[in-house]
C-alpha cells in the first residue's frame, strides 16, 4: 500500500467514495456468488456424490467418472508439460541472452501461445490430435491440448526462478571446474525447486479451469474411462453440460461447481504458501 497525504478536497472525497463503492460492490458480488454456490451445492455434496456414477443424464448420482477423468487429464498434461517446460526454461535462462534470434523467436512464440483463445486451441487439438494423429476423442487428446496451453506459463515461471539465482553460483561452479551439466542439474535446479513446484501448481490450476479446449478433444462421454484412449468428461465440461443441455440438472451442477471451486481454492492456497516459502528462502 502506498501511503499518501490525505486532503479533504472534493475530488479526493469523490474518488474515495467511488472506489469504496466499487470495492464493496465487488465484495458483495463475491459473497453472493460464494454463498449461492455453497448453499445450493451443499445439498447434494456427500462422499456418495464423489464416488458414484451419474444417473439420469447427471440429474442424480455422482461425479466419480468426472473426477477420474479430470485427474487423468491433469496427470498426463503435467507429465508432458513439466519436463518439457523445465527443459525449455533451462535453455532460455542458461544458454541465451537478449540478442540471440532463436531465443527471441521462442519468447515471442510462447507469448502468442499463451494468448490463443481456448476454443481455437480446441480446434487445433481436434484437427491434430483427434483426427490427424488418430487418437480420437480421448483423454490423451485432451491432455495433450491442455499441455500446449499450460506450457507457456510453466516456462515463464521456471525461467524467472532460474534467472533470479545470483550469477555468483554459476561463477563458483565454473571456478571449481564443474561442467555445465553438473552445475545445472545438481546445483541450479535444486535451488529452483520451490519455483518449479509453484509453476506446477499454477499449471494444474490453469488446466483444471479449462473447458472449451476439452469439448472437442477429450469428449463428452459420462462413463468412467478405462484407458487414456477412452473419451472422458472433465468436471468443468460436466458443469457446462448440466446447465445447458440437461433441464433440471441445476442441483447437480451446483454441487459439481462447489467441488471444482473447493479444489481451486486449495490450489490457490498452496500457491500462496509456496510463494511465501520462496520469499523466506531468498531472504535468508
Amino acid at each position: 500500500m502506498i501511503i499518501l497525504p490525505t486532503n479533504r478536497n472534493l475530488a479526493d472525497q469523490v474518488l474515495k467514495f467511488s472506489s469504496w463503492f466499487c470495492g464493496l460492490l465487488i465484495i458483495g458480488f463475491f459473497c453472493y456468488l460464494f454463498i449461492d454456490i455453497i448453499w445450493h451445492g451443499i445439498e447434494r455434496l456427500s462422499l456418495n456424490f464423489l464416488i458414484s456414477d451419474p444417473a439420469n443424464a447427471g440429474r442424480q448420482g455422482g461425479i466419480a467418472p468426472m473426477l477420474v477423468s479430470t485427474l487423468l487429464l491433469l496427470i498426463i498434461c503435467i507429465s508432458i508439460a513439466l519436463p518439457l517446460g523445465i527443459a525449455c526454461a533451462i535453455y532460455l535462462a542458461e544458454y541465451t541472452n537478449e540478442h540471440m534470434w532463436f531465443a527471441k523467436f521462442i519468447r515471442h512464440s510462447l507469448a502468442m501461445l499463451a494468448s490463443v483463445p481456448s476454443i481455437v486451441m480446441g480446434m487445433f487439438g481436434y484437427a491434430f490430435f483427434v483426427i490427424a494423429l488418430n487418437f480420437g476423442f480421448s483423454i490423451l487428446s485432451g491432455a495433450l491440448t491442455l499441455a500446449c496451453m499450460v506450457l507457456p506459463f510453466i516456462i515463464r515461471s521456471i525461467e524467472d526462478t532460474l534467472r533470479n539465482i545470483p550469477q555468483i553460483h554459476r561463477l563458483n561452479a565454473s571456478a571449481l571446474g564443474l561442467s555445465k551439466w553438473r552445475c545445472i542439474f545438481q546445483i541450479l535446479l535444486p535451488m529452483a525447486g520451490h519455483g518449479i513446484l509453484l509453476a506446477l501448481v499454477l499449471g494444474i490450476g490453469r488446466a483444471m479451469a479449462e473447458t472449451a479446449a476439452l469439448l472437442y478433444t477429450a469428449g463428452y462421454v459420462t462413463r468412467m474411462p478405462d484407458t487414456v484412449f477412452d473419451s472422458g468428461r472433465s468436471l468443468s465440461v460436466h458443469i457446462f453440460d448440466l446447465s445447458m443441455n440437461v433441464p433440471g440438472g441445476e442441483p447437480s451442477a451446483y454441487s459439481s461447481a462447489l467441488v471444482l471451486v473447493i479444489l481451486l481454492l486449495l490450489i490457490n492456497a498452496s500457491t500462496h504458501w509456496m510463494a511465501k516459502k520462496i520469499r523466506h528462502r531468498s531472504n535468508k
Partner: protein, 281 residues
C-alpha cells in the same frame, strides 16, 4: 565436454518442440480455412442474407459484431471498476482490508469461466428476463464477461501502481501535493504504460472467451443494437457448430478461428510495441 554439448543441443531441440504447437496451430487454421476461401468469395461474409452455412449462406458479420459488442461492453464496465478497485487497494483502504481483498480478487480470477457462465444462467438470465424477455442476451453476456475479466484487470492495475517510479512519488510528497493530485498527476501517467498493455491483453481475452458467453447469450444470429436481444459471438459459433460441421461449413468455422487468432495476435503485438516504445523513452 561432449556431455555438455549434447545437453546444449537437446535443450535447444526441446525448446523448439515447446513452441512447435504454435506452428501446427497456424498451419491447421490456414490450411482448413483456405478451402472456403478458394470456393467462396469474401463478399459472401459481408453481404449474404444470413448465416446458414449448410445452404451456402455465410453472412458472418453479425457474429463478428456480436463478439465485438460484448467484448467492448465488458471492457467499458470492467476498466473503471478494475482501476477504482486497485486505487482503493493501494491508496484508500487500510491494510486489514486490502490484503484480504487482493486474495479475493486472486481467487475470483482463478474461477473457471464455466462457473460464471453457470451462475449467469441461473441468476442473471432470469433476472434480465423479468425486464425484457428472453433473458439470454447481449447484456447477460456483457455482465458475465465483466465478472470474468475484471479481476485480472484489478491485479494488473495493482501491479502497475506498485511499480511506478518511486523517486517521482517521493518528490511529489516532499512538495506537499495532496493525495488526489498525486494520484492524478504522478501515479496515473506513470502507470499508464502498464495499465494500457494489461488492458489490451485482457481485451484479447474478452474476445476469446467462449463458454460463458455461449451459455448466456442466446446464440441467435442477428444484427441488433438492443442489448436485451440475444446474439451470437464468433467463439460460441465455433463451439456450437463444430460438432456437426462438414466440408465448407467446417472450413468456415476454421476461418472464424483464424480471424480470432489474428485479432488476438494483433492485440499482443500492439501491447508489446507499447511496452518497448515507452521503455526506451
Amino acid at each position: 565436454m561432449s556431455r555438455d554439448k549434447a545437453l546444449h543441443y537437446s535443450l535447444k531441440f526441446l525448446a523448439g518442440l515447446s513452441v512447435s504447437s504454435l506452428l501446427f496451430i497456424i498451419f491447421y487454421l490456414v490450411s482448413e480455412s483456405s478451402i472456403i476461401l478458394q470456393e467462396v468469395s469474401p463478399t459472401h461474409f459481408l453481404f449474404d442474407n444470413n448465416w446458414h452455412p449448410t445452404e451456402g449462406e455465410f453472412l458472418i458479420l453479425p457474429i463478428v459484431l456480436g463478439s465485438v459488442f460484448i467484448a467492448f461492453g465488458a471492457m467499458v464496465l470492467s476498466i473503471p471498476l478494475g482501476i477504482l478497485s486497485a486505487i482503493l487497494c493501494q491508496f484508500y483502504a487500510p491494510v486489514w482490508f486490502s490484503k484480504p481483498y487482493e486474495r479475493i480478487i486472486e481467487i475470483l480470477s482463478g474461477i473457471p469461466s464455466v462457473v460464471f457462465g453457470f451462475w449467469g444462467v441461473i441468476i442473471i438470465v432470469p433476472l434480465l428476463a423479468q425486464i425484457e424477455a428472453p433473458g439470454t442476451s447481449m447484456l447477460a453476456g456483457i455482465l458475465v464477461l465483466t465478472f470474468i475479466i475484471m479481476p485480472p484487470i484489478v491485479l494488473i492495475a495493482n501491479n502497475a501502481f506498485i511499480n511506478i517510479d518511486k523517486i517521482q512519488l517521493q518528490n511529489a510528497m516532499a512538495l506537499g501535493m495532496s493525495r488526489f493530485s498525486i494520484i492524478r498527476y504522478i501515479i496515473f501517467p506513470n502507470a499508464k504504460r502498464g495499465l494500457l498493455t494489461g488492458m489490451i491483453l485482457q481485451s484479447g481475452r474478452a474476445i476469446g472467451e467462449t463458454l460463458a458467453v455461449l451459455m448466456v447469450c442466446g446464440n441467435v444470429v442477428q444484427f441488433t443494437g438492443n442489448i436485451f436481444d440475444p446474439i451470437r459471438t464468433l467463439t460460441s459459433n465455433i463451439a456450437l457448430e463444430m460438432a456437426y460441421a462438414m466440408d465448407l461449413h467446417r472450413s468456415a468455422l476454421f476461418l472464424s478461428g483464424l480471424i480470432l487468432m489474428i485479432v488476438v495476435l494483433v492485440l499482443i503485438l500492439l501491447s508489446e510495441k507499447l511496452e518497448t516504445s515507452t521503455k526506451s523513452s
